[in-house]
Every structure is written in structure tokens, then in C-alpha cells.
């Protein structure tokens, strides 16, 4: 496994239940804010009203799925943060890679109901989906001329998108890449996760002994990845650096993680090798930490084995599990935590579980390290990890 060139992150954008900007979201991490409530935009006939983390006050965009609209919002913030307007983007090869789950599924309940009832539904709902491929929407909106890719790797899509984008930059395919993830809350996903019996009716409790499952969330995060030449020329400060990326498939089960965490350990090893850094150089780990019994057990044990003593925490107590957006949102959080030299408490944790590897961060803490790790574990057995480095002073 080879050392890879660092790739600068010169722009960050984020929207989730905590807020609609990077600053609002990250401030929320240190204010113990938790905006969790039963869904307001859809109903479900379940007796238990499993709560979710909604993005509040976000307007619908006609003709576009909410997922793509969220991606656009985060992309606008990231581009502005990178000092890139339409003129600056002209003549540059800018790629787009976005991770999603809901944003690519040909799912429309109204359409299906009508079709199954032997009606002849019009194609408008399907056309909206066909028009809403997240990467294509961003490329079209900003007139980007590089490669375009929507990654559909379930819950690791956001982290994988960053890895794909960085590889394009290092491979000389693009000057810049807009990379990230987006996913919206919806009735079908909601019912699907409940059917798997991995949701909690109370606020989720990542790594806690009494954890019962996850809360779903929605949102988007995008980053501007920038190659060395463009970075030097534009002289824009890097908020962070992508130092390494690793991924590996458990090849074990469609929805359960492999108990020994072998895939996760391989992904971590690849990411660290790419960064050229040893485990002890990690200031912290932004864990996947969904709050499901299985994930938290497997993940914490793997972390204890390969990153002993490195503080870890889950931010899903603040955002819920945002599926395809999670890896990207958490990468943004990781970058800002390194920037600010502090990490939040693992909201939802109070009682240690002796079966787990150690305990997560219990209260907000200062950190002085220069690199950190963010990881995502997905249905389908994917494990994806990024190592981010502290950015440049403004």
C-alpha cells in the first residue's frame, strides 16, 4: 500500500438537523443541540413514532428531489468557501462525485400505488427522479466540465465519494472536484429501516450499554478538493487535507457487519498507509457509531485493536444517520474539529458497555494533533475510511 499525495480541501459546505451552514452545524456539536422529533413531512402507520433528525425550513425545489436540492445547497456553500464563482470555474476541469442512497432510487409511492391500482400514472414523478441524479444536477447547475459520478454505496457513499474524488485529482483527471454526499428523509426509507428492527424510538445512544438502534436523519455535505497546481496558483487556504483513503468489503452479510471487523481494519490500514502516518498520530476518530447493537460492538472493538488509546466519538447523536450524506458530513466535522482543536462529546452515551472496545469521548475535549480519521460502515459490507490533516492558517 502506497503513500498518496495530500489533496487540499479548500471549501466546505454542510446542511443537516444542526443547521444550514458549516458554522451552524459545528457550533451545534458543542452546544449539545439535538433536534429530534417524529417526522413532520410524512406519516407512518407504525404505532411507535420513531423520531428523526429533519432539516427544518428547507424549501422544496420544483422538479428536483429533495436530496439533490440539499446537495446543491451544500455545494454552493463549499464553492463560496473556496472562493470559486462561475468565472473562476471557467476553463477548469471540475469533476463531481456525490454519494447517495435515496437520491438514486426509482421510488415514488404515489406513482406505484396508481400503477398497481391499474391506473395510468403520468411520468412526472419518474421524470423528477431521472432529472435528479445528484452528481448530474451539480454538474449541470455549475456548468462543470469534468467527470461526473453518483456513488451508491449505501451508508459509506459519502466517504467513498471523497476517496473517488481525491483519486481523480491525483490521477490528473481534474483540477478540482466537488465531492460529498446527500440524502433525504422519506417514508419508504423510514419504514424500511424500522422493518429491520434497528431503529430506536428514543434518542440514539451510540456506544452506550443500553443502545437500541439508530435514528434516521437527512442532510448533505460537499467539499472542494483541489490539486496542488490549482491550489498553488489560486493561493486559497486549505481548510484541511485529505491525506489517505481506504476501503474494503466484508464480503460477509447483506446488512450485518462482519464480527471481527476485518474489513474495517483493512480499510483503516490502507488509509493510514496512504497518509504515511502511524495509528498513534491520529488525534481522534469520528466513528460511524449509529447506535445499533451490532455496529457499535464491531466498530469499537476494531478501533481498540488498531487505534488503541485514540479518542473516538460518534456525531450521529446530533445528526442521526444521514445514510449517503453521513461520510461527507462527518468528514466536514472532522476537518473543523482539527481546525478548532476540539472534539465534541459523544451525545447519547452515558453507560459504558463492557462488551465494547473502550468508551467514547464523554465530554468536549481539546485536541492538539494534526490528523484524524473518519469512517463509515455500510450495508453490503462496505467499510470506508479517510484520514484528514489539519489545514492551513487563514
Amino acid at each position: 500500500m502506497n503513500r498518496t499525495e495530500p489533496v487540499a480541501l479548500t471549501g466546505l459546505g454542510c446542511i443537516c438537523a444542526l443547521g444550514s451552514t458549516v458554522d451552524a452545524c459545528c457550533a451545534g456539536l458543542f452546544q449539545d443541540q439535538r433536534h429530534l422529533a417524529p417526522p413532520s413531512r410524512f406519516t407512518s402507520a407504525h404505532a411507535i413514532r420513531y423520531p428523526v433528525f429533519e432539516v427544518r425550513g428547507f424549501p422544496e425545489v420544483p422538479g428536483l428531489l429533495r436530496t439533490s436540492a440539499l446537495a446543491l445547497h451544500a455545494a454552493r456553500e463549499a464553492l463560496a468557501d473556496a472562493g470559486l464563482d462561475a468565472a473562476a470555474l471557467q476553463g477548469l476541469r471540475v469533476g463531481v462525485v456525490v454519494g447517495t442512497t435515496v437520491g438514486s432510487t426509482m421510488n415514488d409511492e404515489g406513482f406505484c400505488r396508481a400503477h398497481r391500482a391499474d391506473e395510468e400514472p403520468g411520468l412526472a414523478p419518474m421524470e423528477r427522479i431521472l432529472n435528479s441524479n445528484p452528481a448530474a444536477v451539480l454538474a449541470r447547475t455549475f456548468g462543470l466540465r469534468g467527470p461526473c459520478q453518483t456513488v451508491v454505496n449505501a451508508c459509506s457513499s459519502g466517504t467513498d465519494a471523497l476517496g473517488v474524488g481525491a483519486a481523480w485529482i491525483r490521477g490528473g483527471l481534474c483540477d478540482l472536484v466537488l465531492a460529498g454526499g446527500a440524502d433525504e428523509l422519506g417514508r419508504i426509507t423510514y419504514n424500511g429501516f424500522i422493518s429491520l428492527k434497528i431503529t430506536d424510538e428514543a434518542p440514539c445512544r451510540p456506544f452506550d450499554r443500553d443502545r437500541k438502534g439508530l435514528n434516521l436523519g437527512e442532510g448533505a455535505a460537499m467539499v472542494v478538493l483541489e490539486g496542488a497546481a490549482s491550489h498553488r496558483r489560486r493561493n486559497r487556504r486549505a481548510r484541511s487535507f485529505l491525506l489517505g483513503y481506504g476501503s474494503a468489503c466484508d464480503a460477509y452479510h447483506p446488512t450485518a457487519p462482519e464480527p471481527q471487523g476485518a474489513g474495517l481494519k483493512r480499510a483503516i490500514a490502507e488509509a493510514l498507509a496512504g497518509a504515511g502516518l502511524p495509528p498513534e498520530a491520529m488525534a481522534f476518530v469520528n466513528a460511524h457509531g449509529t447506535g445499533t447493537p451490532e455496529n457499535d460492538r464491531v466498530e469499537s472493538r476494531a478501533l481498540q485493536a488498531v487505534l488503541p488509546g485514540v479518542p473516538y466519538f460518534s456525531t450521529k447523536g446530533f445528526t442521526g444517520h444521514t445514510l449517503g450524506a453521513a461520510g461527507a458530513i462527518e468528514a466536514v466535522f472532522t476537518a473543523v474539529c482539527l481546525e478548532q482543536g476540539r472534539i465534541p462529546a459523544n451525545l447519547g452515551f452515558s453507560t459504558p458497555d463492557p462488551e465494547l472496545g473502550g468508551t467514547p469521548v464523554a465530554q468536549a475535549t481539546t485536541v492538539t494533533g494534526l490528523a484524524a480519521l473518519s469512517e463509515s460502515l455500510a450495508f453490503g459490507g462496505n467499510n470506508a475510511v479517510v484520514v484528514l490533516g489539519k489545514g492551513e492558517q487563514a
Partner: protein
């Protein structure tokens, strides 16, 4: 049709397990693990099938685990809990 026969017919169809309806199928054999190849995803599907066809809710998967041990234990579990 008795509960066990009804269960077998439902599972054979919904979970693609034709062997269940064979005369040679051993009703005491473990449902999960190597025998039929059922796993945790099948366990939650089974919960849904029981709710749909028998109107019964299994809330606690631990309770489900004991009931799901074999066709016989599952049929007995349903017979105990269904109205006569």
C-alpha cells in the same frame, strides 16, 4: 389447515424455501444456521410474515430467537398465543 402446515406453506412461498413442504423435512431441525441457510435478515422477515398472516407482533427479538428454533417450536409458539 393446522398452524404448522399453514406456516410451512407461507414460508415456502414467501421465503423461497420449497424444501419445507417436503415430507422428508424434519420439523425439529434448526431453522437458522447451516440447515436452511436462514440468517438475521430472514429472522426480521419472519417477524413481518407472522404479523401479516397471523396478526401477531413479536416485539422482542430475543423472544423471537427461542420461538424460531425450529418449525415445531414456532408452530407451538403461535398456537399458544393465537386466540383459540
Amino acid at each position: 389447515m393446522d398452524t404448522k402446515a399453514r406456516l410451512k406453506s407461507i414460508l415456502a412461498d414467501a421465503m423461497n424455501l420449497p424444501d419445507l413442504t417436503l415430507d422428508t423435512y424434519d420439523d425439529d431441525a434448526p431453522l437458522f444456521g447451516d440447515n436452511l441457510g436462514l440468517d438475521s435478515l430472514d429472522a426480521v422477515e419472519l417477524v413481518i410474515l407472522i404479523k401479516k398472516h397471523f396478526g401477531m407482533e413479536i416485539v422482542d427479538m430475543e423472544e423471537g430467537k427461542t420461538a424460531f428454533a425450529s418449525m415445531n417450536t414456532l408452530a407451538a409458539y403461535l398456537d399458544r398465543r393465537l386466540p383459540a
